[in-house]
Symmetry: C2
């Protein structure tokens, strides 16, 4: 095969060719694509994302570049590829559906790594179990796929899924209330990083050695025909609790396969939500910038008491404005918009400076009781207004939320990326207490830095149970080098600012993984030394995702790959 544009470090074209030849014997040439020409690097659309590089390239388009893309058809394929990669010491970068948008997409941290596109073939819903309210899925299954499965099998009246179809941080099932804080990886039901952590149950993992391991109750002899949805697991011999009880016996290892480079998850159980028997989405608008403070302090106790049943979000006006139009449709101003312009946009969209989206679950009596308490509490904010979807005639984010909050995936909100021409974005997401003081301080810091970078502040605060995520959407023009470098400067600066304030991030773009990892350096960086010790034991050749989240195997000299 042809020589790739980007070879892995210390790998000759000859070695790489031999590696591919060996892989080809397993998966066939049709499942191998060598990245040979820059012209191939189209940034794609949301529905067809490139697997070769980051479509939202904050650095040069070919900096985070794959040498080749391989699409295993099955677990045995994947095991064989991993064994061959060990033999030739070729770094692999597993990805599910490659939509880790704002974090690097499908692109590898280490230039020249081979991207494993698991989503292409390994995308089956293996089982949906109604009694146990769970599904077993392969890495390529998206929320849309799973929802479609429920609809096609007439299960939608029994089971709902938690939709996180990119940018949708809301959670729809009652026991999933923690999940907003648990989004740790790609969009889609992403099996190479933990997503909706608490709701996953049982994993099958290809280890860096190529061996296959099952966690929890999966380590007992299992029903034979897993993977044949036509034969329900519960009719098979073997342990039936792999997707019912997460822990098994001894250490709970699943976390090692979340946001890590210690294995490739090939099957996962995910708990579904029983249809709650009733549903109502709503919007509450707050007119003033400073209302954020009061709103967050009102949210905290309501959230702890589960009166707010899912993960609520308070969106800045520009977040909604960007979903409904591009910047040029609102203003001719090039730089960051000022308060007067923001007020004008809010007026025009009939929204507040901050807009709070939520939903009520359960029978009408329950919903009414909860709504009474919620309305009462937020009425303390002067000028707060309350809406149900039917109250709003114009196009509105609430109409999208009304779908997603009941488990119906939609991509409508992605439009906000086009706020600027050639729109691309980075996410910056510091974690803080659920407090008005923290919210206002984070908001003022990020707003000021965004202004310094000549960019608009677009962001939202989402509230887990006991912590708050501040999701800052850094939108830039990926074809304007200046815009890109300003966005890059902004995120690096915000990471340092927030670390100084004691705020940390829980996931990030390839370009700043090392910087963020270094902020978790308590006691002479013991956590990283611990992670590296485990990495080097399980993956002595350092073939699985070198550099992911700042963890580099001993086979690579970290400092050589600093940006």
């Amino acid at each position: 095969m042809a020589t790739p544009l980007a070879l892995p470090p210390n790998t000759s074209p000859e070695t790489f060719k031999n590696f591919l030849a060996a892989v080809s014997k397993t998966v066939g040439d049709e499942n191998i694509r060598v990245v040979t020409r820059l012209e191939e690097l189209h940034d794609g659309t949301y529905h067809e994302q490139p697997r070769t590089h980051d479509p939202h390239h904050i650095v040069d388009q070919d900096y985070f570049l794959a040498s080749a893309v391989i699409c295993p058809r099955s677990v045995p394929d994947l095991q064989a590829i991993v064994r061959i990669a060990n033999e030739f010491q070729i770094p692999l970068w597993p990805t599910s559906i490659g939509r880790n948008s704002g974090y690097g997409g499908a692109a590898p941290r280490l230039r020249g790594s081979v991207v494993l596109d698991l989503g292409r073939h390994m995308n089956r819903v293996l089982e949906v179990n109604v009694d146990g309210a769970y599904a077993v899925v392969e890495p390529g299954v998206t929320f849309a796929d799973l929802h479609q499965y429920l609809v096609e099998h007439g299960l939608r009246d029994k089971l709902w899924i938690d939709v996180s179809s990119n940018w949708v941080w809301f959670l729809i099932w009652v026991e999933a209330r923690f999940l907003g804080i648990l989004w740790r990886g790609e969009s889609g039901i992403h099996l190479t990083e933990a997503n909706h952590w608490m709701m996953h149950c049982g994993m099958e993992v290809v280890l860096p050695s190529g061996e296959l391991m099952r966690t929890g109750m999966g380590a007992m002899p299992q029903p034979k025909k897993l993977g044949e949805p036509s034969v329900p697991l519960h009719e098979e011999p073997g342990n039936k609790c792999w997707q019912l009880f997460p822990y098994g016996f001894g250490p709970y290892n699943d976390g090692l396969f979340s946001q890590s480079n210690l294995g490739i998850v090939t099957k996962m159980g995910i708990w579904l939500m029983p249809n709650p028997g009733g549903y109502q989405s709503y919007l509450i608008t707050f007119p003033r910038d400073e209302d954020l403070h009061q709103a967050v302090d009102i949210i905290r106790p309501l959230r702890l008491q589960m009166i707010l049943q899912n993960v609520p979000t308070i969106r800045h006006i520009l977040m909604d404005a960007a979903v409904l139009g591009t910047k040029t449709e609102y203003t001719s101003t090039k730089g960051p918009l000022d308060d007067a312009e923001l007020d004008g946009i809010a007026k025009r969209l009939n929204l507040g400076r901050w807009n709070f989206y939520g939903a009520l679950y359960g029978p009408e009596s329950t919903r009414n009781a909860l709504w009474g308490i919620i309305k009462d509490a937020f009425s303390a904010v002067r000028g707060a207004k309350f809406y149900f979807p039917e109250d709003i005639k114009q196009k509105s984010v609430l109409h999208t939320r009304d779908k997603t909050l009941q488990g119906i995936p939609t991509f409508d909100e992605l439009a906000w990326i086009d706020w600027l021409p050639n729109g691309a974005h980075l996410f910056f997401s510091p974690i803080s207490k659920v407090s008005g003081d923290d919210a206002m301080l984070q908001y003022s810091v990020t707003k000021r830095r965004a202004r310094e970078a000549g960019l608009d502040f677009i962001g939202t605060f989402t509230v887990g149970l006991r912590e708050m995520h501040h999701i800052v959407c850094i939108v830039f023009d990926r074809k304007d080098p200046d815009s890109k470098s300003r966005a890059h400067w902004l995120i690096k600066t915000l990471i340092a600012d927030c670390a100084a304030y004691g705020w940390g991030e829980y996931r990030t773009h390839l370009a700043v993984m090392d910087q963020i990892a270094e902020t978790y350096n308590w006691n002479n960086n013991i956590l990283m030394r611990f992670n590296e010790a485990i990495k080097n034991t399980l993956d002595p050749n350092g073939i699985i995702a070198p550099g992911k989240n700042g963890i580099w195997p001993s086979t690579y000299q970290k400092s050589l790959y600093k940006l």
Copy 2:
């Protein structure tokens, strides 16, 4: 110091003496106790449990025997002890309050290990944070201690704790609904194994090297004065989210310190429950043995829907009978009681063959709505009766549950151990689907085997969200060798029976850890090989809890220690 009765393997009295001399320089002789005489081996009371051996000894009283008991006063003490243990290659067995009753108490798996009694000195509630609804505790803090702290600080109206004061599997806070399935270790808030797994947030761990690590957000620079409750953390500089957000950046490592021998947890955050604003406990009785089937199938959907807000339990009549009296108070029969006798006892106690204990949480309107649904559903069981505590005049388990289900610890239920003279017990807890078929099959298997062993069946079914725990309480006479060996035979036989049916256990007594670990042997025992690889990397000298849950470091030859 004197030579212990039981020395660690391959350790000369001289070496052990030198080890203790070195440790003594750190903690002082007053915190070291060498176990030199059999007469010392009193089995103790619940409130004063021995740290030297298993008070419920299923094998010889001195089989699982400590060489010495050391009580570190602080984290630096503990770090020093671990470093010295590495130097002299002495195995350590960390325990919190030593009440792992039914599982071995404080006793080590490997005879001659040094028991680390963390509960003696490291037992402070370091902080209770009301806004964040969490506590930070040391390993020796019990539920009673934490409850007492809340009462003394006037916080009881704001925060409740989840009580699991041994044998109480119920869970009292709404977001803790998973916790029943998460009890993985000792009683008390136990920091060397995970207990209430989902509700823990953030750990500080002494690694086998003696280094100190903090997980999650704790790996960022922390507030300085942690450990001084007088200074609330949120007024300190540094990251404030250690107890608010469990994950941090990169792999989620906490699970490695649950039910493992990879480190010693010295601080842990635990989420508390906001006072739900209302509470009502209840009892539902079912008259017939076979009602278990119908009751479990009624429970499954109610539990999934969260109409049953906490972890419900269906107790066999003898479980309650044993709490209220000894066997001889009910009958002169020596062997297992038959149905007629069980019916007689039920009649006398005004209970059913199966008795279901639960509670409702929230304002009265919520509780009434839920109670209506629950009563309705269980009325389908012919002869089911419904009680609130005030309906019952005689002494009743419901009166205990009424306390524990609202977070008030009590030891009253422990009385069931005295069903037989010199009462001792083993727990056997297979996991299954929440289904009537599984419940009846497990019940019939265990009842039959108990009968073969000449023992009464005493057990309860507790229901997590998607799985069921069958807690079989094997009560025996610890001073009767025949009774002991029959109990030992029973648990070994049940483990094998259940493995054949595809049911696994998630925790167990020291004596059968290896047997259960071997049932999780899928794919050539890859899970155990994975656990051993990590064990040998983090603990090359194999000093932390060798043999725990079947995980033996390479420094010990597993086969030599088989029972």
